[in-house]
Point group: C2
Chain length 588, copies 2
């Protein structure tokens, strides 16, 4: 019985030797457990997304060489960029064959390319038309162990299911199906993927795989990247689907091997990675799904979100060499949950929380901040900012008096940022911001103040989800016999920025449950104002929220990102050195 | 004699009605001066680059309708996005025909599309494959006035000259040349462009036009966008080239019409825009070029750079509704030149400079800052930061004592940012940063400190160029009978951040003339370390500069941009909410 190992890899973008080593380790593990062939994720040797590294010819060539150098005692399909044919062409996103039959052949690089990606996604988080040339022939791995496999790369499988934002001119799955109809004996089709996570993405990926298996009339196997790279997060969940709709899905947030028995879902198994630094968040169980089950009932959305956010920060720190984190602790829900995330990601002993009360801060805020820090077991420091605050107010004097009131409020947030960044710089820690998606989208935050930091763990989490995550962290702590880190006071008090006397978020914003619904309809739902009103939202609410979202009210200029400093920010052409970018729609 | 008006337009992205009005104004001007037909720039009705606005079907439809609604008493070719054929397709980047023969026909939208862009640049600052479908048939405008014109859009002309980073599969210029060989009588080919500015770009664009005219054996006319939009800057310089190599080039940095006599270069003329807010920087003269002249001798590179930087800031402010600017004035060369740029862009009466000395600041710094402000006629305010500085140092105490020294230095820069942002927020001004490209590339700056601001006018100007711009601003002031704004003390003292006693930039960085050469070889030249050493740079210098550039030394985490807050920052998929992005290459 031939078993296929789907190597669910957590590569680091650019770390060619490290990725090759991880890959070889997974292949060895797969073989030890009975796999006779192995399949990696997309661009496994360079990691996904390699972005502008692909513009360096030297990098592409070194990746390709690294892929060919993978040693394995079973045959492997390995994803790698393939060097361009000439100076006026782009590289391709390819798959090479490594392993026992091939390692003795030298100088045969081109002959070992078994597939090149045909559909290059260039929407949302994808930019592949920028880096790759598209090919128009599907891949086939003959005599691969005892198998003949159709070979596709990620997006190649999505056109057939009609699940891309716009249609491509060709359909790689249909190409392979046509070969089958012509009598080529293909045992299964594999797909090397780097398919990022978002809420509900998993059921979509499963639908794509089931559709492909049904069209091909043979098993469809998808090996997906796991872990965080740059601003993308991958959930893993490699899977296999059969033509009758049965499917087996690997765990999320873990590195390892999905060992696939092509004939028997029940004989598939999950082998976790043996690498000492391997990602191992969440539950180690396979999903075995019948045809009518999309597995959604087996996934708790708040557990999922919590694990995703923790995994993202943990992997970012590991891959970037960050070993300690500092953040402001206000006593509010956002900073409490951000502290829980940081502690779960890199260990509470590596996290420092600064309570920085001003004259507008209440005693319960200080108490609640301290409670969270103590319960998590992280370092806790208190610095009052009143003295500094008064000095700055004196200095600005008349300007504040005659100016917009938000200018005075921002001072406190910015003084706190100076302290947080002072700790971060002095200790080579990373500062993290604590803002949530709802308030950031409304501009209810201070640039160079509470927005200062290298990573925003809750930046894509709506306020009501932050509350749900707090409850989940409390439940997890209690289940482990520890004190719940988020106090009931933090959970129940009305949200306040505490930048002015008796200030509450709802003085400025709609109630968060309402606000979140409006934002979700616009941001995730893609509805414009007219469509939102047609779907039942009140006009005044829609105009209020969207107006604030687009204009960020008087804070517009505070919202500008700081200038980027990577050399790539300059490009080779002239870029107007613009630090601020906003979306004007008609006259401002 | 048929004259063609090339409408060198300065559109605002998204301002459909405003752009249509500007366009109609230019067309009227062209007609009044004898043009019998007019040609706009690329995507003139929506402005370039429209970016994610193109993802909104409604926006594309409204742009198309706006283009069809342009009223003109002469026939016009107008650039506009063209709605997708169906829900699973992308729009195209097209050209429609407006004017007397067409305005009476209603419901004929599709029939009026005369061209759709074939080559979609997706490199450097371009992302067109993300938004548009490519077509594969060149455009032809028959009975256009008394002319038949070949019609191309920007990139369409660049493949023929071999001047794109990678090759396209088809060549629109060759398509039109083939029609000519088949006997179609084509009088000229036009090109609707939005071709951004960078140093030396102008001679490349001229070479493209001459190549096309030579291949086509008829005049080639290029109408180019002018002005700033988002992070792109366009220099205008619409032009016409004849098969024998003669050419006429319109002025840069100005809105207006290049009136082309197809038979006689000497009969071409420039008509400046009559719009009250039209961009009118630099000299209003045409270049008449013989075949062997690329015009470079007529362009002073420092004048060019100065005009570009001023135009960029001026147009950004106008289009974004920014009417006042605040910046820190240190007495150093960068802030002096940034103040000159701001004063030239929006008028000195709308600029405020803050001198904010600390205990490390010298008296000459304060004097030099005041000199610049007085000479320019801008508001000047002095706030010492010593008191605040001491309070923050006291607060951080031990953390600073035992930490990295840069943490202490950063405090001053961040306190200054609080004051600058306090002024900006209170008065609804925009803060600008004063850093130059050399120091930003080396991380010789403080995030949330001197990097705080909505726009970095010198962010793409090397340090030695900043000195040259200072001399130019002084010459211009003296020529106008005003005091030179940059004092000789500012021009001649050794650069210093003045964040520590006796601190000079060259203690940390190579001499700026050396540094600039190294950075230019890497950033503009695209050379890697090996190639730079092979070209003659010393290994230690290369490793020092590139090492600092890639790692930004201990400041790495300070370099992160603040979280973006536009709704587009979230996309519709899940983006890991990453505030910091850096380029890891292998293990950090």
């Amino acid at each position: 019985m031939t078993k296929v190992g789907l190597l669910q890899l957590d590569p680091t973008v650019g770390d060619l030797s490290g990725n090759v080593q991880r890959l070889a380790g997974l292949a060895q593990l797969a073989e030890a457990q009975g796999a006779s062939v192995g399949v990696s994720t997309e661009l496994a040797v360079c990691g996904y997304p390699p972005r502008d590294l692909l513009l360096e010819h030297d990098f592409v060539q070194r990746s390709f060489n690294a892929a060919l150098s993978v040693t394995s005692s079973i045959p492997l399909l390995v994803g790698t960029p393939v060097p361009a044919e000439d100076e006026r062409s782009l590289p391709t996103n390819g798959v090479v064959r490594c392993g026992p039959e091939y390692t003795t052949i030298t100088g045969e690089g081109q002959a070992r390319i078994v597939a090149e990606k045909q559909l290059l996604p260039t929407y949302d988080v994808f930019d592949e038309a920028r880096y790759f040339a598209a090919k128009n022939r599907s891949g086939l791995a003959r005599s691969f162990g005892s198998l003949t496999l159709g070979v596709t790369v990620c997006e190649d499988a999505w056109q057939s299911a009609g699940m891309t934002p716009s249609a491509y001119a060709n359909d790689p799955i249909e190409h392979i199906a046509e070969w089958c109809r012509q009598g080529v004996a293909i045992h299964a089709t594999v797909n090397l993927s780097a398919s990022p996570f978002h809420a509900d993405k998993f059921t979509k990926r499963l639908a794509v795989a089931r559709h492909a298996a049904s069209v091909l009339n043979h098993p469809f196997l998808l090996a997906n990247q796991v872990g965080g790279n740059d601003d993308l997060l991958f959930d893993g969940r490699s899977l296999v689907a059969w033509p009758d709709g049965r499917a087996v899905v690997a765990p999320s947030w873990q590195e390892g091997v999905l060992l696939v028995d092509l004939d028997d879902p029940a004989a598939c198994s999950w082998i976790k990675s043996e690498a000492s630094d391997a990602l191992q968040t969440g539950q180690h169980s396979l999903m075995l799904l019948e045809a009518n089950d999309n597995g959604q009932a087996m996934v708790d959305s708040i557990d999922e979100l919590t694990d995703a956010v923790v995994t993202g920060l943990a992997d970012y720190c590991r891959k970037s060499g960050i070993t300690s984190i500092v953040l402001g602790l206000s006593g509010g829900i956002d900073s409490a949950v951000a502290a829980c995330v940081a502690a779960a990601a890199i260990g509470p002993e590596n996290v420092t929380g600064l309570a920085m009360p001003s004259r507008h801060s209440s005693q319960h805020s200080i108490d609640d901040a301290e409670h969270t820090a103590m319960a998590l077991g992280m370092e806790y420091v208190l610095h009052r900012i009143d003295g500094m605050h008064e000095r700055v107010e004196e200095t600005l004097g008349e300007v504040l008096e005659h100016g917009h009131t938000v200018a005075g409020e921002n001072l406190q947030a910015r003084l706190r940022a100076i302290l947080v960044m002072g700790y971060a710089n002095a200790r080579s820690s990373m500062a993290i911001t604590t803002g949530n998606k709802s308030e950031i989208a409304q501009g209810y935050c201070t640039l160079y103040g509470d927005m200062a930091g290298g990573y925003a763990p809750l930046g894509d989490v709506y306020k009501m989800e932050v509350y749900a995550m707090a409850e989940r962290f409390n439940q997890r702590a209690e289940a482990a016999g520890r004190t719940a880190p988020v106090s009931s006071s933090t959970l129940t008090k009305p949200p306040s920025a505490e930048l002015a006397p008796d200030q509450f978020d709802e003085d400025t914003l709609p109630a968060y449950d309402v606000l979140d619904d409006v934002l979700r309809a616009h941001i995730e739902g893609g509805l414009n104002a007219d469509e939102m009103m047609a779907s039942g939202f009140e006009e005044s609410l829609v105009m209020d929220v969207l107006g604030r979202l687009e204009r960020n009210e008087h804070k517009r200029w505070q919202m500008a990102p700081a200038p980027r400093v990577s050399p790539r920010a300059f490009g080779q052409g002239w870029r107007r050195p613009l630090a601020s970018r906003h979306d004007w729609r008609g006259a401002p």
